[in-house]
C-alpha cells in the first residue's frame, strides 16, 4: 500500500517539475512538440530507475565506509558514467532506438531531476524497492508534465500574445497556471 502512495505522491502531489522545481531546463527546452516530449520522458524514466538501482548500493557502501558526505560526488559520477555507457551500448546494438532517444541522453546527465531523485531517496530513508518505485513515479511525473505542457504550448503558439511576452515569458506564465492546477492534488492523502 505504501508503494502505491509513494507512486501517486510522486506523480501528482509532489510533481518533480511543477512542485519541486527540478528539471526545468529540459521542461522548457524540449516540450515544444509532443514527439520530443514523449521521447525525453521515456529516456528520463529509464535513466532515473537505473540510476536509482545503481546509486542505492553505492550509498550503502559509502555508509559502511562512514563517508556519507561523498554522496554528491559518487552519485553524479555514477549517473554520468551510466549515461555514457548506455549511449555507447545503444549506438552499437540498437541504432534505430539510438537515433530516436540517443540525442536526449547527454542532456539527462545535467538534469537536476535525476540527481534530485537519487538524493531524495536517501533523504527520505526509502528501502530499495521504495526507491525504485519513487524513481519510477518521478520519471512518470516528469513525462506527464512534459506531455501536458506540449499540449499547452501548441495552443499558445496559435494565440495572440503581446510582443514582450512572446516566447519564454509566455511559456513560464503558462507553466505557472499548470502548476496552480496541480496544487489541487495537495490534500489527496491526509
Amino acid at each position: 500500500m505504501k508503494l502505491i502512495i509513494i507512486l501517486i505522491t510522486a506523480v501528482f502531489v509532489n510533481n518533480i517539475v511543477l512542485s519541486q522545481f527540478m528539471g526545468i531546463c529540459p521542461f522548457l527546452g524540449v516540450s515544444k512538440q509532443l514527439k520530443s516530449s514523449v521521447g525525453m520522458g521515456g529516456a528520463v524514466i529509464f535513466v532515473m530507475v537505473c540510476a536509482t538501482a545503481c546509486t542505492y548500493p553505492v550509498y550503502k557502501l559509502l555508509e559502511l565506509a562512514k563517508v556519507e558526505y561523498l554522496q554528491t560526488v559518487a552519485f553524479i559520477l555514477v549517473i554520468a558514467l551510466f549515461v555514457q555507457l548506455v549511449e555507447i551500448v545503444l549506438k552499437k546494438t540498437m541504432p534505430p532506438l539510438y537515433k530516436a532517444l540517443g540525442v536526449y541522453l547527454p542532456l539527462i546527465t545535467t538534469n537536476c531531476a535525476v540527481l534530485g531523485v537519487t538524493i531524495s531517496n536517501i533523504d527520505n530513508s526509502y528501502t530499495f524497492v521504495q526507491s525504485i518505485v519513487n524513481a519510477l513515479g518521478t520519471g512518470l511525473a516528469f513525462t506527464l508534465a512534459l506531455v501536458l505542457f506540449s499540449g499547452v504550448r501548441a495552443r499558445i503558439a496559435d494565440s495572440d500574445i503581446p510582443e514582450t511576452f512572446k516566447g519564454v515569458p509566455a511559456t513560464l506564465v503558462a507553466a505557472s497556471i499548470v502548476s496552480l492546477s496541480f496544487m489541487g492534488f495537495g490534500g489527496l492523502f491526509s
Binding site: 563517508v67 558526505y69 561523498l70 560526488v73 533523504d123 527520505n124 530513508s125
Partner: protein, 186 residues
C-alpha cells in the same frame, strides 16, 4: 591501446584526489556533537526556562556519550536542570519536509508544555516557517496528555508543519508522564 587507457586513468586519478581532499577536509573540521550540550541547546533551554544549569541525560551503561531517548522515535535527547523540576525534550519531527522540525519542548513538573524553542526549522520558507511565530507557539503552551490536538487550530498554509508541531508536543508530554520517575531521579 595507449589512447584507451589514459582517459579513464586520468578520470580515476581525479576522482581519487577529489575524494581524498574531501575526506581530509571532513576529518579536520568535523565535530561530533552527540551527547554534548552544545551552545545551541543551552540557549534553547534558557529560552524556555530561563538561566540554569542544564545537562543531558546520558546512558550510564554505554562506552561513548549516548543520550537517553527511552526508545521513542524522533526523540534526540532529554535534558533536565539541577533542580530536576524542569525537563526539555529534544525532538526531530516531520513537518512538510522530513525532519523539518527540530525543537526543544519544555515540560513543567505538571506534565504540561511550558514553552518551545526551535533549534532548526527546515520547513518551506514563508509558509511552513510560520509555526515559529509566537502566536502559534503560545497556543501550544499548556498542552498535556489530556489535550486533544484537534482542538488547537493549525496555522493557515502551514497545515503539515502545524500537525508536526502538535505531534512533537504529544510525544514530549507522553514521554514525561511515562518516565517521570527516571527523569527526576537521574
Amino acid at each position: 591501446m595507449k589512447n584507451n587507457i589514459i582517459p579513464p586513468l586520468v578520470l580515476t586519478i581525479i576522482c581519487i584526489v577529489v575524494s581524498g581532499l574531501l575526506v581530509f577536509a571532513h576529518n579536520q573540521t568535523y565535530v561530533d556533537t552527540t551527547g554534548v550540550m552544545t551552545d545551541e541547546l543551552k540557549a534553547g533551554c534558557e529560552d524556555v526556562f530561563g538561566k540554569g544549569e542544564y545537562e543531558m541525560l546520558l546512558d550510564k551503561n554505554a562506552d561513548t556519550k549516548t543520550p537517553v531517548t527511552f526508545d521513542v522515535d524522533g526523540v534526540v535527547s532529554v535534558i533536565t536542570d539541577s533542580t530536576k523540576e524542569k525537563c526539555l525534550v529534544e525532538i526531530e519531527e516531520d513537518g512538510y519536509s522530513k525532519g523539518g522540525l527540530h525543537v526543544l519542548i519544555g515540560v513543567n513538573k505538571d506534565g504540561a508544555v511550558e514553552g518551545i524553542s526551535f533549534i532548526e526549522c527546515g520547513e518551506t520558507p514563508g509558509l511552513g516557517t510560520k509555526v515559529k511565530e509566537k502566536s502559534f507557539l503560545d497556543t501550544l503552551v499548556g498542552f498535556d496528555t489530556n489535550t486533544n490536538p484537534d482542538d488547537i487550530d493549525n496555522v493557515t498554509s502551514a497545515t503539515y508543519s502545524s500537525k508536526g508541531m502538535k505531534s512533537a508536543c504529544k510525544k514530549a508530554v507522553k514521554l514525561y508522564s511515562e518516565h517521570k520517575e527516571e527523569i527526576t531521579n537521574a
